[in-house]
Amino acid sequence: MAIPIKDIKLPEDSPKELLLDKHVEFIKRYGKSDDDYEFGMSDYLRMSGMYWGLTALELVDKLHILPENDVIDFIKRCQDPETGGISACIDHDPHLLYTLSAVQILCMYDRLDAVDASAVVNYVTSLQLPDGSFTGDKWGEVDTRFSFCAVATLALLNRLDAIDVEKAVSFVESCKNFDEGFGSRPFSESHAGMVYCCLGFLSITGRLDIVDRDTLAWWLCERQLPSGGLNGRPEKLPDVCYSWWVLSSLTMLGRLHWISAPALKRFILACQDVETGGFSDRPGDVADPYHTVFGFAALSLLGFDSIKPVNPTFCMPQHVIDKLKIKHQLL
């Protein structure tokens, strides 16, 4: 009668210790081998690729191994003089996703002076629609991810006042579902990635009061499967990136302790690639910087000593948020 739960089994020989040095090498080397043709980063998301790699390095105190000035110079050249937005790559079109990634990197280096910050603010403001939602670029896809990107960017620049926060909140609230989770738009299925974006948004705007804390936290801890890993929706496979989206959400709600930390640790560690370094979505898959930073960040929330504390709202090192005195709400 029992239908098997959709899950994986951790291989017996999966790694059980954190392979820190290998991961640092992995990030440093990423994109430089011919093998990366197939799996490597694409130019259209390079700015986010940099944010993932650099954040991972800073979380283990290795940011200095890469030349700061080259990164700053690259970001400068990605700012669009016309709109103020920042693109994934030089001469590409600006987008909110890469604007946030760039601002996050600049905060880590404490180099916000490198771009025209007020132009960035104008860009973000220009993307808000009358219903309070945000599009990702001037061509207009609406998504709660962009609501998060907008307020996170503005909060890091200390300019949350530049948009209509109240309307932005009502749009996000309209994406709340009957199971207390959030989707990308009104009535879209609840999805742990969108829950993170919406809670992050509410954390920044100080409006976590609009969620039913315990019901949502229960939905989030229902994401944990017998393998210890977390999925993003019911009946989906576990994936390291959801370790971050779910765990950071639970942390914002002050309910991190509701999941089984030892089981999740085992799952995340099993997703390390012992040969190349780096983390993959599930044991045995190809590692990439995206899953590597979220693996680190999740382990940080679980209290790994060798990884610096991470801020659950911004997915940035906590000391950066402290230094810049970025206000946000945690329950």
Binding site: A2, I3, I27, K28, Y30, G31, S33, D34, Y37, G40, M41, S42, D43, Y44, L45, G49, M50, W52, G53, L54, L66, P67, D70, D73, F74, R77, C89, I90, D91, D93, H95, D137, W139, E141, N177, F178, G183, S184, R185, F187, S188, E189, D214, A217, W218, C221, E222, Q224, P226, R233, P234, E235, K236, R255, H257, W258, I259, S260, P262, P289
Partner: protein, 331 residues
Amino acid sequence: MGDSSSDDENAWVFYKDRPEWKDVDPVPQDDGNADIAAIRYTAKFKDVYDYFRAVLTKQEKSERALQLTKDAAELNPANYTVWQFRRDILKALNKDLYEELEYSQHIIDEHPKNYQVWHHRRVLVEWLKDASKELHLTELILNDDAKNYHAWQHRQWAIKTFNLFENELAYVDQLIQDDIRNNSAWNQRYFVINNTSGFTCEVLKSEIKYTLEKIKIAKENESAWNYLRGLLLHDKEGLSKNETVTNYCEELYSSGNRSPFLLAFLVDMCDEQVSQGGGDMRYTLERAEELCNSLANQYDKIRTKYWQYMAEKIKNKAEGKSEPSPPSDDS
């Protein structure tokens, strides 16, 4: 030109070797000096994009440029600038948009989880003001992956914008019959009812009946239990006073079923009655404690901390105290 986008590498002629492109100077990508998340380009990729940048810079809206955007999009369908420029050309050349609609179906079929291809489709449908093919397209995609988030988003958008609700509930029912645990389908059910009849008394009654029948088939189905909770949000009496539901749950419990979702539901019924008082003698603090204990120690051990919290929370309510504080981190 006909087979210029062929996958057969042998048949591929580089743009730089094509006589009809001799008048164009390719524009190479400027990657800056930043030594992180480097990008490796294949010779073909570089060639196509060097020429794409050239026509983009010149804003050349021609047949050959249109063909070039096809090659560029197929090499990297996530490049939103390529799609935007393609649309600019389609407009400028007054192309048959139905032909483009067909092409977009082909590319969505190849890249069903790509944001940009779905966005392209949506813009075309908006231009044509014709969504007659959207239900069929999304059904094709959902046949392969019934939880594809992009397909569901597109489908909801088309249904809502063009009022295509008529047969949707039958489609949802079919999907639920195919896979009773398809959370996307349950979510769609809520979307349809909420936007058509609404949750009137009669609808609520028949939906509860429908859901309980499905739970009977698979009792550990998170989606159906969540949907049941969602339905009862529309019951003015709350979660714990609908006789059909309480009788069903009690019968199930008496029959020896210990699905964590059933027990969780009973816990919430106790929670409601303890805090609101009155009503049903079956839903007491003692019962809540007993259920939480068995969940924590036997039926849902991975979420022990949550069930301990719930037991304490309900106890505090009964004693008129505020909610419990989180335990010290001893995980």
